[in-house]
């Protein structure tokens, strides 16, 4: 069915100011392919099944509404962790602020350089995993990203990488509108951790394609900054080979609109995929996790653990799907999405989906929303713990299952301290 003219016009208006970056012919083709996909599906609207809980207007708008710069008095996240920093300032790579990009067992290259080469490993992945992830659910902002991404890096891990690659996203201009694309290949048996930190821009569109070969391990921990007004739409596409491991955790504190999509395809037997998130919002906050895990291999495990703490009109949404294809026997799928409402103005919308075509599988899912447990609160208070502190303790306990998904203890402790700080700043009066 052809796209209605109005939708096509809106889509063209959205991309009018953007140009397809130059590159080698394969890169040019990939970008044109992305553009074609975008113009075929059009921008999302409230009638689209996967955009019913989140209004895409601010993401669809031709220009960014802008976002005030947030001044933080906290020390830099992951500051005590030995890491290789790759810094982007409002969506532009900053070589001076970044560390030397050479490190054993990994190739790190700027997207621009990689896509200019006629022969490059990224050719088999750039826009490829994104395209695979467009079926059965349309993801127009990811296609737009493939077409117009202006910067990013490509990473190829060939062995155990000694320290995390830390993508640092600085937001310094109130009207920045960044589109970043990352391509990551974890070769057979390689082991890579990628950290992401920061808001990146007033409006941020990010796409990350991760291909994990047999026996590869990929850990991903991200924090999306503390900016209140920023908008973000991000996509994480992952393809898992045999006996590979994928673990991703996202911390979202504040942000007017955040849509994080994770599209995970398990193609090799005995693989493990965990995707988790902790989101905390107070006031003008809309946070959306949209997750799609496809089991297309035998004896694989997947977990989706998403927790949201909401107050004062904050809205959380979760759309999570487990698709078990025919033949994907012995699948162990788990999904939990929970919201803790700290007052009566918060809202949580959840849509768990299971679609199973194999008969020997375990899939469990749950979704809850509720308030702080009064009995537990009284128990803590009766031991002398002041109400506010007791609430924080119980809130952190609620978030613990998601934070426990972070394997590295130092990184988990760092994330935990951010949450403690946020809760302390956002206590009820």
């Amino acid at each position: 069915m052809a796209l209605p003219q109005a939708k096509l016009d809106a889509t063209d208006a959205r991309i009018a100011a953007l140009t397809l970056p130059e590159g080698a012919s394969w890169a040019r083709e990939a970008r044109e392919g992305g553009l074609l996909r975008l113009r075929t599906m059009g921008l999302p609207g409230p009638r689209d099944e996967y955009w019913r809980f989140t209004r895409p207007d601010a993401l669809n708008a031709a220009s960014t509404p802008g976002a005030a710069i947030f001044k933080s008095d906290e020390t830099a996240l992951f500051g005590d962790i030995d890491r290789l920093r790759v810094v982007f300032r409002d969506g532009v790579f900053d070589a001076d602020a970044s560390d030397d990009l050479s490190l054993e067992n990994i190739e790190i290259e700027r997207l621009e350089t990689a896509t200019a080469k006629d022969i490059h490993w990224a050719k088999d992945l750039y826009g490829v995993l994104e395209t695979r992830g467009q079926t059965p659910v349309k993801r127009p902002f990811a296609a737009m990203n493939t077409a117009f991404a202006t910067d990013g890096v490509v990473l190829r891990a060939t062995g155990k990488v000694s320290k995390p690659v830390s993508l640092v996203y600085l937001h310094e201009k109130t009207d920045s509108d960044a589109i970043l694309h990352f391509v990551i290949r974890v070769e057979t048996g390689a082991d890579l951790t990628v950290l992401e930190n920061g808001p990146a821009a007033a409006r941020f569109n990010k796409c990350m394609e991760v291909d994990i070969c047999d026996g590869g391990t990929f850990h991903h921990v991200r924090a999306q900054g503390r900016d209140h007004e920023r908008l973000a739409v991000t996509h994480l596409f992952a393809r898992l080979g045999e006996e590979s491991t994928f673990k991703s955790f996202t911390l979202t504190a504040n942000g007017r609109l955040t849509r994080n999509e994770a599209v995970i395809e398990i193609t090799g037997d005995n693989a493990t995929a965990h995707v988790a998130g902790a989101a905390v919002g107070d006031g003008d906050f809309h946070h959306d996790d949209t997750v799609f895990v496809t089991h297309d291999a035998v004896n694989c495990e997947s977990r989706q653990v998403f927790k949201k703490v909401l107050r004062n009109g904050a809205v959380g949404t979760f759309q999570g799907k487990i698709l078990v294809k025919a033949g994907a026997q012995k699948t162990d799928g788990y999904q939990i999405s929970q919201a803790l409402m700290l007052d009566e103005d918060a809202q949580f919308l959840a849509k768990p989906e299971l679609e199973i075509y194999a008969d020997d599988v375990i899939c469990s899912h749950g979704s809850t929303s509720g308030a702080i447990d009064d009995e537990a609160l009284f128990y803590l208070s009766s031991r002398g713990i002041p109400n506010a502190e007791a609430q924080d303790l119980l809130t952190l306990a609620f978030l613990a299952e998601a934070i426990n998904e972070i394997e590295n203890e130092a990184i988990a402790a760092d994330i935990l301290s951010r949450l403690e700080g946020w809760l302390e700043r956002h206590r009820s009066a």
Partner: protein
């Protein structure tokens, strides 16, 4: 130590009077027991004293060392030295027992203007106290009361009491759900805490617990009032004859 004067309490949600004029005084260093049939208001008394929501005090007062208790928040009452050992200790998934205890101990010290305990000092103290209650390292690490047996939960209550060193301890049916050995262990823990400056109010259905924690005074509560007060022999009388005789006698 604890002085309750003509305390009247009703449930907030329904217009139901539970306590109808309780008068009670527990002097410093003494152990008082309250016995009484089901529904007499024993547990309500313990909840009202510790500050649980859902109850409305319509008349009367309760003071701890002369300070009015009923105006204080639960955490202020705790810092003032009041402790309630729960009949049903609450399970708190996600909060480690040790974290919980350290937070509680330090919150109380802070409220009283004392220095917080260092991590090392705290660890030393808790290990020592846990040992005498046969609480192992695993129980300290686990989330508060989660997966604890009935006996473990009650021992954990006594451990909290030992760590917080309150002046006035209320034990709400601490014997319920305990076998004989567990009851002995809990009673030993309580007895070890008996001192001149610390008072106990032991609420129980049965005289059995009072074999192990010997009370100075026994009160019988019925229909929201203390109807009879006597020595330890009163508990034995209840054990032998039930409450019926006493109720008839008073009526």
């Amino acid at each position: 130590m604890l002085k309750i004067n003509n305390l009247h309490v009703k449930l907030e949600e329904e217009d139901k009077q539970i306590l109808k004029g309780v008068n009670l005084e527990v002097p410093a260093g003494k152990v008082h027991a309250i016995m009484g049939p089901n529904g007499s208001g024993k547990s309500t008394l313990s909840y009202v004293l510790s500050g649980k929501d859902g109850y409305e005090v319509t008349e009367g007062s309760a003071t701890l060392e002369g300070a009015e208790l009923l105006d204080l928040d639960p955490e202020e009452r705790a810092a003032a030295g009041l402790f309630l050992a729960f009949q049903y200790p609450v399970e708190i998934p996600g909060v480690g027992n040790m974290t919980f205890l350290r937070t509680a101990v330090n919150a109380q010290r802070k409220a009283r203007g004392e220095d917080e305990l260092s991590a090392a000092d705290f660890l030393k103290l808790i290990r020592e106290k846990a040992k005498s209650l046969k609480i192992d390292a695993d129980m300290l690490k686990r989330p508060v009361n989660v997966g604890f047996s009935g006996g473990e939960k009650k021992r954990n209550e006594i451990l909290q009491m030992a760590m917080l060193e309150p002046k006035m301890c209320i034990l709400d049916e601490t014997d319920s759900g305990l076998d004989v050995d567990a009851m002995k262990l809990v009673a030993e823990g309580v007895n070890a805490l008996r001192s001149e400056g610390r008072s106990f109010l032991v609420i129980t259905h049965y005289q059995r617990l009072l074999d192990h924690i010997k009370p100075d005074v026994v009160h019988i509560m019925a229909d929201g009032r203390i109807i009879k007060t006597g020595g330890p022999e009163l508990a034995l009388e209840v054990e032998n004859n039930g409450y019926a005789d006493i109720l008839t006698e008073v009526a």
